[in-house]
């Protein structure tokens, strides 16, 4: 609806994966501003800073050293001013059970890490546009679940 860029926060310990994501985002037609952190501790420290621009969506790698994606998810959901940020979890493993448990804990999006760059781009576009709809069209965020 307006020209404000979409703010994305990405937490992943693998440098290749991070570059993969950042490049994919930069090739989308949608204007995004990406902030990258290397693990869960860094993520929580970043979010705890005063006066930062809160992201519209956080992409969280499930398997990170020091603090896992799931631990971050649990913490974020307990913090009043952060709990409404959309959370997209991604992981290489994806059993139906894992996916459902992640949603129950409050994640909005579950992404099975794709192997091809083209698929990743497609997935990111879908997540960003749908999240944008929830942001601008007054949809009920409680019902925002997307599995890719």
């Amino acid at each position: 609806m307006n020209n404000e860029p979409i703010h994305v926060l990405l937490a992943d310990d693998d440098e290749n994966d991070r570059n993969f994501f950042v490049t994919a985002f930069s090739e989308l037609k949608i204007k995004t501003v990406i902030h990258v952190v290397k693990d869960g501790i860094e993520l929580m420290e970043h979010l705890a800073q005063d006066g930062i621009k809160l992201p519209h969506v956080i992409f969280l790698d499930l398997n990170m050293p020091r603090k896992t994606g799931m631990e971050c998810l649990n913490e974020i959901k307990k913090i009043q001013h952060l709990k409404d940020i959309s959370i997209a979890i991604y992981s290489t493993s994806a059993s139906e059970q894992d996916i459902e448990d992640t949603f129950v804990k409050g994640a909005n999006v579950y992404i099975k890490k794709p192997s091809s760059f083209a698929t990743l781009k497609k997935i990111l576009k879908e997540v960003i546009t749908l999240n944008w709809q929830y942001h601008t069209s007054g949809l009920n965020r409680d019902n925002f679940l997307l599995s890719l």
Binding site: M1, V104, G106, Q133, N143, L145
Partner: protein
């Protein structure tokens, strides 16, 4: 303790609007959802005042004609999808064109340009959102929901739900139920 409430968003917005406009002493009438007719011309300072009063509620005056059109398209789609009775069966492209008084091609192009998505996708998204709401707050069966939202069959509904959310309607229902129990447990 936790209580559950239900609210009518149209009524809420209308009441907030009325309160704010009355507070500023403006004469007005509400035409349709999201459209207000003011009895006299107002200054940009007054527009500013209205916006200031409304911004706490997430309501704002839309000024660019493009954005007004987009908002009207969205409102028309929502009005259609949220009819209490069964969804109408007419062609939505014709309906939108007539209701908004523009060629459908124009409406559709504008919409895609500004919202990053097509009208067709937006309608599907709204229908699926409505389905999610019916799944979580009513006792309707999936077959009944499919019928009410004009899906040709239960299978068609399930497929569309799955392709939009990645989940089957039953998985969605199970997750929402567990989420609710999860929240209750933590209290």
């Amino acid at each position: 303790m936790r209580i559950y409430i239900k609210f009518e968003i149209n009524k809420t917005c209308k009441k907030i609007l009325e309160d704010q406009l009355q507070k500023l002493g403006l004469e007005y009438s509400l035409i349709s959802f999201g459209e207000v007719d003011l009895k006299s011309n107002i200054t940009s300072k007054q527009i500013q005042e209205i916006n200031t009063g409304l911004q706490n509620y997430g309501i704002e005056i839309i000024e660019s004609p493009k954005n007004i059109l987009i908002q009207k398209i969205k409102d028309t789609v929502i009005e259609m999808v949220y009819m209490d009775e069964k969804l109408p069966t007419f062609k939505t492209s014709t309906y939108l064109a007539e209701k908004l008084n523009h060629r459908y091609g124009y409406i559709s192009k504008m919409f895609s340009e500004i919202t990053f998505t097509s009208i067709e996708n937006y309608i599907i998204l709204q229908k699926i959102e409505r389905a999610k709401e019916l799944i979580t707050i009513t006792e309707l069966t999936f077959t009944e929901i499919a019928w009410q939202l004009n899906f040709s069959s239960m299978a068609h509904f399930s497929n569309q739900f799955k392709s939009t959310t990645g989940l089957t309607p039953s998985a969605f229902q199970r997750i929402m139920q567990r989420k609710k129990e999860n929240i209750l447990e933590e209290k």
